[in-house]
Symmetry: C2
Subunit: 425 residues, 2 copies
């Protein structure tokens, strides 16, 4: 479950007009009649996932872990952020001798990175998962050109057994190549955009290969799909979050800082920035999404948030319970003057800090939203990510924006391709 | 050298009024008569650094590398961001068997992190560098409480030889403790705030311990200090950058996206966010600093930057030459349709992408600033960081804001301490 709190008066947000508009959005979503409704495959995706699909993901992940020590996932944008977000949230900070690693490539263009990556994996067994709907997105295609060659040189004909492709079911350069070479294939569905694809094979295969419980993740997403389906202007968390942030946007709070006290959530924040930024940032509208990790960034952007230009709202992503923790112990000499904290756990310290920071920023003029999940596990992450996707759809529609396209992305691509004299440009 | 370009007409920025105001700021800085002038120690710090100071840093770093495999740096905000920025910019992406590692702690509050960190270093030799002016900043003090105990249990009386303290010269809890225990000490100067402290022992000791050339870094900073000292409204890079971004701010471009194509600069971006956010974000004024790494985030925030709310300016931090690189090779089947790039290096691809993205974003209504450095090494980083610090001072003064205090930071601290019932609150 996700619980959404607000420092303002929710009754002021949920006017009759707003309720009516949200009801229309709700109906347009579930009747698939709104703008961009060809891309609503994610909406009932969790409940529609078959056990045989999940079994295939799990057994392929097992096979990868059997044949390799490292899986290099090649993808960019929505083709890597969902998997990266879940893996970073669940894996330990430090792992001296990892028995299996998931690494990423093709999410940028860097010769140094690719060279060092190939040197790094050279004495370990490697598998690749290439994720691209078309197969011609420049960054992953470039990385795959180098890594495919690397695999061929290293494994010869057996390379094909170590390359897994997630791409379009019916067309595209990567599909053609995969068929020709006999690479095992998974599907990027036609009706699910990249930033909504974490519960498809795009996200699930790398997450399963990393050793995490994809069934738990999907179960959480299913619970969210089910619980957030009904129109309830008061208690539906996805509607609440969308309505509050839209109301604040209309009041001039046009930048949203997503804050967390859990450093492991920093890639969930990156995933959230793509989700909301790319869904809403159109037609010279949209809330600018940015992120901070506390208490770290209280010593960095904290001053600005407290006292800077007053166009910020702040939403806190709070994990209520900690798995691993430490308790402050009494020190004999109390040189650091911290004995007043004796007996407090570090997680409880963060919960108190959340209260204090939120009070201070509110009184500085920054409206406060709280997004609470109970703990950091597969189930709750699945719930949270689905919640954000659904809320994002409501939020973009409140701006009268199609949440599911990204027309602005073509502009820079065209400009680059022209400079590079790409055939056809 | 740093070179600053602008998509607009610089003559429109540099009006006579602006020039006069900047001259006043210049004189106030160098005559130390402006607001906050007690904290101008950083201004002539590079040229004032003695060789014996640098020798002490270098020999201590050597001693640390001799006695330990891991240095844990304990600090938060300005006490870790400078060192982290330089180390991340210079170290490889992957290092299978690092002979020496610099790790960080006390930059957040996480029981899981501390527990895993202690387990991670348990079969390697460890040293600590605790960095805190007062010794009572909560996060590093908490981390040090746990890690000091760990060191005592592991090394007994010899722990003292492995603990290095960077703190106030004359007062404070950490100084008292260091004297009592006989820890080797370095000084956080009184007249240099945390976010301006990278060239003091705060930054230099961890950077030297990580194996990098602190003399090169300081040499770059000295060159910047020297070259940017004279008032020149046209050609002084620090004045140019400050004047352009201030002019854009006055036109309503109140958010600045710092973009780079070099993933290794992501902590220079974090350092920059603290520097500008904490220096300028006061009295309900200031440019909100945010950062993106391209091409990665073209597939994330790119849509928003192209088409979203038009209150963004974008400044590119561009490294003109690459050390390590790869060249796109011709593929036989050209399945990925990338043969048109054959012969192009990945770094050159990024330089073309910079041009294309900058053109596209400009035509989308986002004014463009370019900050160019020739390469990624100690010298150029030293120059760049000094350039940003000096430009930040000009920029804050243009807003009539004292760049060197952080009054808003007290608000959340007070709120937290009250909730925790800290003695005196």
């Amino acid at each position: 479950m996700v619980n959404v709190t607000y420092s303002g008066n929710y009754a002021d947000v949920m006017t009759d007009d707003k309720k009516q508009k949200l009801k229309q959005i709700h109906d347009g979503l579930y009747e698939k009649t709104g703008a961009g409704s060809d891309f609503l495959g994610w909406l009932d995706w969790p409940s529609g996932l078959s056990q045989s699909f999940l079994n295939n993901i799990k057994s392929t992940a097992e096979a990868i872990r059997g044949q390799a020590d490292v899986l290099i996932v090649i993808g960019i944008g929505g083709s890597y952020l969902g998997a990266k977000a879940v893996i970073e949230a669940l894996q330990p900070y430090f792992d001296k001798n990892p028995d299996f690693e998931v690494l990423f490539a093709g999410h940028q263009v860097s010769g140094a990175y690719l060279k060092e990556l190939m040197a790094y994996v050279d004495d370990r067994e490697v598998a690749l998962n290439v994720i691209s709907k078309s197969g011609t997105t420049t960054e992953p295609a470039l990385a795959f050109r180098f890594l495919q060659k690397y695999m061929k040189e290293r494994y010869g004909n057996e390379a094909a057994e170590r390359i897994y492709v997630t791409t379009d079911e019916e067309k595209g350069a990567l599909l053609t190549l995969a068929k020709e070479k006999g690479y095992k294939r998974f599907v990027v569905p036609d009706d699910v955009g990249g930033r909504y694809s974490v519960f498809t094979a795009v996200g699930l295969l790398p997450i399963a290969a990393a050793g995490f419980n994809v069934e738990g993740l999907v179960e959480g997403a299913r619970a969210a799909e089910n619980e957030l389906k009904a129109f309830d202007a008061e208690d539906n968390a996805a509607i609440r979050y969308a309505a509050i942030r839209h109301d604040l946007y209309e009041q001039g709070y046009t930048n949203e800082v997503l804050a967390t006290f859990e450093p492991k959530l920093s890639f969930v924040q990156e995933w959230w920035k793509q989700l909301f930024g790319e869904s809403e940032g159109k037609e010279h509208k949209g809330i600018l999404p940015l992120s901070v990790v506390y208490t770290t960034d209280l010593h960095s952007l904290g001053q600005y948030i407290q006292d800077g230009k007053r166009d910020l709202m702040e939403s806190f992503l709070i994990v209520d319970e900690a798995d691993e923790d430490l308790e402050v112990f009494e020190a004999e000499n109390n040189a650091d003057q911290l004995n007043y904290l004796s007996g407090l756990s570090l997680h409880d310290f963060n919960l108190v800090a959340y209260k204090g920071v939120s009070e201070a920023h509110l009184s500085g003029g920054v409206p406060q939203i709280g997004i609470h999940v109970s703990k950091l596990d597969e189930y709750n992450l699945g719930y949270l990510l689905y919640f954000y996707m659904l809320s994002c759809a409501y939020s973009a529609y409140l701006l009268d924006i199609n949440p599911f396209n990204q027309p602005g992305v073509e502009d820079y691509k065209t400009a680059i391709f022209k400079l590079l004299k790409k055939p056809g440009y």
